[in-house]
């Protein structure tokens, strides 16, 4: 069972195939009417696998399987897009206009038996354009699990530009910083008494290079803000024992509380970087702040990773 793969759920049955399958269904009925029972059964046994072959990516029903539902909240309440109604722990009033992210290596495991069940290698979340999302997985093998884990972003070893399919190109991370993919794009407006309404852009990714194209991170930055070389944060969440197999269906609800990105350590959009010398020299108007820019900044990158551990929670229920 260790490292077992299950399939995700997407339905694609071409219309012509539907017509064909309906025709086969008609043939079966005709055979039923005109032949012995054994003839019908033989036909049925031949045809069912064919039909399933074209629809087995689809389930989402209540049979064996796991549904993972991802829910976006702010301080425990459902996310409202583009509304300046939230206040973070640093007393910054803020809105959310974009919240996109990647999750990798979604996996159930059992700390005692060592059993693992790989659910998905990469999941894309978009709280604004797609809202809460739901992903269904099929499996048959009976097993018990007590932990749900995943990687926020793409693990460093795989975080290479072009590795993911083309639909993820929009999440790319610029080559001057080392390439790969954004772990998160969290954006919106925030209200600052002086000079007034502003924007924040919390983008998380790797910092394998600094911003002068040629030098590696180690070559050009002081080690005051060490970045974990393994990449983004790995999240491990205990769950009520999930027992798979024997016709059981489980629903795992992952709550993403956006407010938690700013709580511990305290994240103040208007705060200057502690070391202004790290602000890229081509910027028009330093100082750099924790609200913008964030991509070349070891301080905001480090703080986002530290905050990641409190953002996610999960509940599991059967049914």
């Amino acid at each position: 069972m260790k490292g077992a793969q299950v399939r995700g759920v997407v339905v694609h049955v071409h219309s012509a195939q539907k017509v064909f399958l309906r025709a086969l269904e008609g043939s079966i009925l005709e055979a039923m009417r005109n032949s012995r029972r054994s003839s019908f059964l033989f036909s049925f046994l031949l045809l069912v696998p064919l039909a399933l072959a074209c629809s087995s990516d689809q389930s989402g029903g209540s049979s064996d399987g796991i549904t993972v539902r991802i829910v976006h909240q702010v301080a425990g309440t459902p996310l409202e897009i583009d509304q300046l109604i939230y206040t973070n722990a640093a007393a910054n009033p803020y809105s959310v206009t974009k919240f996109e992210y990647l999750i990798s290596d979604l996996r159930l495991s059992n700390g005692v038996s060592g059993a693992e069940l790989d659910l998905a290698q990469t999941l894309y979340g978009n709280a604004v354009d797609q809202g809460n999302s739901e992903h269904s997985f099929e499996f048959q093998t009976p097993e018990e699990f007590d932990t749900l884990s995943f990687f926020w972003g793409v693990p460093d070893a795989r975080n290479i530009t072009g590795v993911l399919p083309p639909q993820y190109d929009g999440m790319h991370w610029p080559s001057p910083f080392g390439g790969g993919y954004h772990a998160m794009r969290f954006e919106g407006s925030w209200s600052n008494a002086t000079p007034g309404d502003s924007s924040y852009v919390l983008h998380a990714g790797n910092l394998r290079r600094c911003s002068n194209l040629m030098e590696t991170y180690e070559d050009c930055l002081a080690p005051a803000y060490p970045i974990d070389e393994t990449g983004m944060a790995e999240i491990s969440l205990p769950v009520t024992t999930v027992t798979t197999g024997s016709g059981r269906h489980w629903t795992l609800v992952i709550v993403v509380d956006i407010q938690e990105w700013m709580n511990d350590p305290l994240y103040d959009f208007g705060q200057d970087w502690a070391d202004p010398s790290l602000c890229p020299p081509l910027f028009a108007n330093p100082p750099c702040t924790l609200g913008f820019p964030t991509m070349p900044g070891p301080e905001p990158q480090s703080m986002m990773r530290l905050n990641a551990g409190d953002v996610f929670s999960v509940t599991a229920s059967e049914g």
Binding site: Q17, N34, S39, P166, M171, L282
Partner: protein
């Protein structure tokens, strides 16, 4: 057994087709026949990429071509002729090329800042500045989009307001549009059917001489997929053939970082210079913008958002923006430096945050312009395969 023998035979014969169709559809085509010649439109990856671009997405992805409209030499030849032929307009005065001239990288060569909209039959004006047609084969809805790009669950990729989801769909509109070619499709079919040349070309491309709207848009889309630009100075840098100038290098750095912050909309695929995941955006042209994508989706969060165009050959495709309000690249850069309407609804947050930092430095502006000019591919404008087949031979 006799009663179900026909069923078994039917299953045996058609199972490969049924099962084959279960994948994303790599096989089967109505355009690829023993009589047609397939065309490979993919661009080989660089084998000599310089170290400073090692982490960039510089290679062209595999072009996503519809399985029911694979590209063939015969289909492209037919599409090219239709593209340049005014027969598809009501008074034989306007062709696709009237607004999409190869000498202007398939934008409107007659458009100016003062008169940015293209003229259709009878002098009717369009609603937008005609966009350039470059590398459109890579902008199809799938597979360059995530599953649920918008709340409607639909895919949008072409026209400034995204109302067409494929080149084939897009090609249906201008012929019948009263502001453009103003010819109902049934009349277009009749005119083409009566032509002495076309039936033979349809037979070569599709196996029989039948003329239909579907076949015309398929052929035009095939021709449009061949309009590939991949030999700019940028491409030559990617291939390790040249070194960038200092200005170009600064421009690339500003482009691909939050310094200029161009890449969030125009990056992602630097072979395309448009970002597949951020196909639409509000770039702050107006405090009270036109509806843009909202016109199509009805979604208020899409107000003011327009399709992000490719930057390839931008030197040749002015005037700029959906309404052609800027005549030069200098004006465009001045807008992004100090002209962004930061109060515009749904303004891209990256752009707003950058704009609130203050104007770009002269060094950055100079670098960005140099980098934009690096995307020019003069050979694209003069490629013999893209020229008017009715023009006299030089």
């Amino acid at each position: 057994m006799k009663a179900f023998l026909p069923v078994i035979l039917l299953v045996a014969m058609l199972a490969p087709w049924v099962l084959g169709g279960c994948d994303s559809g790599e096989s089967g085509s109505s355009t690829l026949t023993p009589e047609t010649t397939p065309v490979d439109l993919n661009i080989p990856p660089s084998t000599n990429k310089p170290a400073e671009l090692a982490d960039a997405q510089t290679d062209f992805r595999t072009m996503p071509i519809p399985v029911d409209n694979l590209t063939t030499e015969e289909g492209v030849a037919l599409g090219r002729r239709l593209f340049f032929d005014p027969i598809l307009s009501s008074d034989d005065s306007v062709s696709c090329s009237s607004c999409h001239d190869p000498a202007a990288a398939f934008s409107d060569i007659d458009a100016t800042q003062a008169e940015p909209f293209s003229e259709g039959v009878g002098g009717a004006l369009g609603d937008f500045n005609a966009p350039a047609l470059i590398n459109l084969g890579w902008t199809s809805a799938d597979p360059f989009r995530l599953e649920f790009p918008f709340q409607s669950g639909e895919h949008f990729s072409l026209f400034w307001d995204g109302r067409a989801d494929s080149l084939e769909t897009q090609a249906r509109e201008p012929v019948a549009n009263e502001q453009e070619m103003n010819l109902p499709w049934d009349q277009a079919e009749a005119k083409v059917r009566a032509d002495s040349v076309y039936p033979g070309m349809f037979e070569a491309a599709f196996g029989d001489p039948g003329v239909s709207q579907d076949r015309m848009v398929m052929a035009i889309a095939q021709f449009e997929r061949t309009l590939r630009s991949y030999n700019s100075r940028w491409d030559q840098w990617v291939r390790g053939e040249i070194e960038p100038t200092p200005d170009e290098a600064i421009g690339y750095l500003a482009f691909t970082s939050e310094v200029g912050d161009c890449f969030h909309c125009h990056g992602g695929n630097l072979a395309l210079f448009a970002s597949p995941g951020n196909t639409f955006g509000n770039n702050g042209l107006d405090a009270l913008p036109p509806p843009g994508l909202m016109e199509v989706t009805g979604e208020p969060l899409h107000e003011g958002k327009f399709r992000v165009p490719t930057l390839r050959n931008i030197e040749f495709t002015g005037p700029y923006m959906h309404d052609g309000r800027f005549g030069t690249l200098d004006e465009v850069l001045e807008h992004y430096s100090a002209g962004v309407a930061t109060e515009s609804p749904n303004l891209d947050s990256n752009l707003r945050a950058r704009a609130l930092q203050g104007p770009l430095t002269p060094t950055v502006v100079q670098g960005l312009k140099a980098f934009l000019l690096m995307l020019s591919d003069p050979g694209f404008l003069t490629d013999p395969d893209f020229q008017d087949p009715f023009a006299p031979a030089p």
